[in-house]
């Protein structure tokens, strides 16, 4: 039991007791080791269920759009979640004054795939101790350095601290290193085009179009996704190269200037498809071209709404 969990439980209980919110969205212990699961707490007593650790891999902001606007929500917000909430508030998905953000500086999410790749699928128990993750399996105890098993997105996280939270529990963490954050994009960009395309084909080739990435993403909240349209049929709906590629291209493009780089899509993918390199490119572009970073401000509109005459122009002749 870490001190953060305790503080979260107390705050959640207080919010529910004082009727500041109707629901607190947080995490509870999962049924499987290495995985916590989202919890929706409506009664003060249930607050005891809440946990917070490195196994909390969902982006809780994704649940914001699933509640009606009248509901007052308390959300446990790490850096990425708080920025997603900001973006969602700008997109009118909830009223900010009906939200209570319980900010938590985040040290990163443990990638269970990285652990299972080393210990096999036989984890019995897992816990964190300081900078270490201790995994108990049938063949004994394994110790990992936290940094080695962090999820890729978390390892290069730029903003671990929540923004615009109503209360912040825990001490602020140092901001991430931009060079590290954008390294994958720049590395990928440096590859010859045919290799880039080959990689894209290879990754999307595994896609089974389950849309788990869509469900996990806080910013994918359309009632009807473009891939589900029939008039017009924007793209092939079956698992064809054309269809899966179009899905991945447009899904990423719809995140331009909105993605908070939480990596929930990748964590959710059952086929372990790499996809953050797609959206990261767009986020990088938005920052480079238009100085836009999602969640950086309470008012700034997404970049596609903020075009100006003085946009940098290398495209139009």
């Amino acid at each position: 039991m870490n001190s953060l969990t305790l503080a979260i439980r107390q705050e959640a209980a207080r919010l529910l007791e004082e009727k500041i919110v109707d629901v607190v969205i947080g995490f509870e212990a999962g049924t499987l080791p290495l995985k916590a699961q989202p919890a929706f707490i409506t009664r003060k007593e249930e607050a005891e269920k809440l946990v917070f650790n490195g196994f909390c891999q969902n982006n809780l902001a994704a649940y914001l759009t699933r509640f009606p606007k009248e509901k007052r929500l308390g959300i446990i917000c790490r850096g990425c979640e708080s920025r997603a909430v900001r973006a969602l508030v700008i997109e009118h998905q909830h009223d900010r004054d009906k939200l209570y953000l319980i900010g938590v500086p985040c040290t990163g999410i443990i990638d269970w795939r990285k652990i299972e790749r080393r210990v096999g699928e036989n984890t019995l128990q897992a816990r964190e101790e300081g900078d270490e993750v201790i995994v108990t399996t049938r063949d004994g105890e394994h110790r990992f350095r936290r940094a080695d098993v962090l999820h890729d997105s978390c390892a290069r996280c730029l903003h671990p601290n929540p923004v615009g939270a109503d209360i912040v529990l825990g001490d602020p963490l140092p901001e991430g290193d931009p060079e590290r954050a954008w390294a994958p994009v720049l590395e990928f960009e440096a590859l010859p085009p045919e290799e880039r395309y080959a990689y894209f084909v290879q990754e999307t080739g595994r896609c089974i179009r389950c849309y788990a990435c869509r469900e996990a993403c806080p910013m994918c909240y359309c009632t009807e996704c473009f891939v589900d349209h029939t008039a017009p049929r924007w793209t092939e709906s079956m698992i064809t190269p054309g269809g899966t590629q179009a899905w991945h291209i447009v899904r990423a493009f719809h995140q331009a200037g909105r993605c908070v780089s939480c990596g929930a899509c990748e964590r959710a993918c059952p086929m372990d498809i790499k996809m953050t390199y797609l959206v990261d490119k767009l986020s990088y572009d938005m920052m480079q071209q238009y100085g836009f970073e999602v969640g950086a401000s309470d008012e700034k509109q997404p970049p596609f709404a903020a075009f100006t005459l003085d946009d940098r122009n290398r495209f139009v002749r």
């Binding site: 767009l282 075009f307 100006t308």
Partner: protein
Amino acid sequence: MSDKWTPRIVVFQCQYCLYSEADQKWMDTQLPPHIKLIQVPCTGRISPLFVLNAIQGGTDGILISGCQPEKCHYKEGNLGARRQLDAFRRFLTYLGLEEGRIRFAWIDVSERGRIQQELAGLEKTIQAMGPITRLATRAIPVGEKR
């Protein structure tokens, strides 16, 4: 690749594009069959999905022609289009699509013959690149009808 290969080009043209009368007439009547003219009210109407459909359908080149900045019929539609389509083009380039297959030109009414130049320029670029291979994953066999 046979010598006879002719590139397929889609031209998205804004309805109010500042073409001179003669150029517009040329576009409406003289366009060779391998070039398809699709008129939209404004370049701002061009959804990236249109571009993606064209690319995936095996179009070798796309020309988008719109009005000069500050001369847009819809005040600033062309600026919106520039931002969105530029980002989309850069994204496709990132995925391996050759730069230059998508061309965007702002054409002024005083620039007589510019559209022909732009088309010729695009065709030349595409000829150098050859037919589209990457991302053209929805190509339909010759003559197939729905």
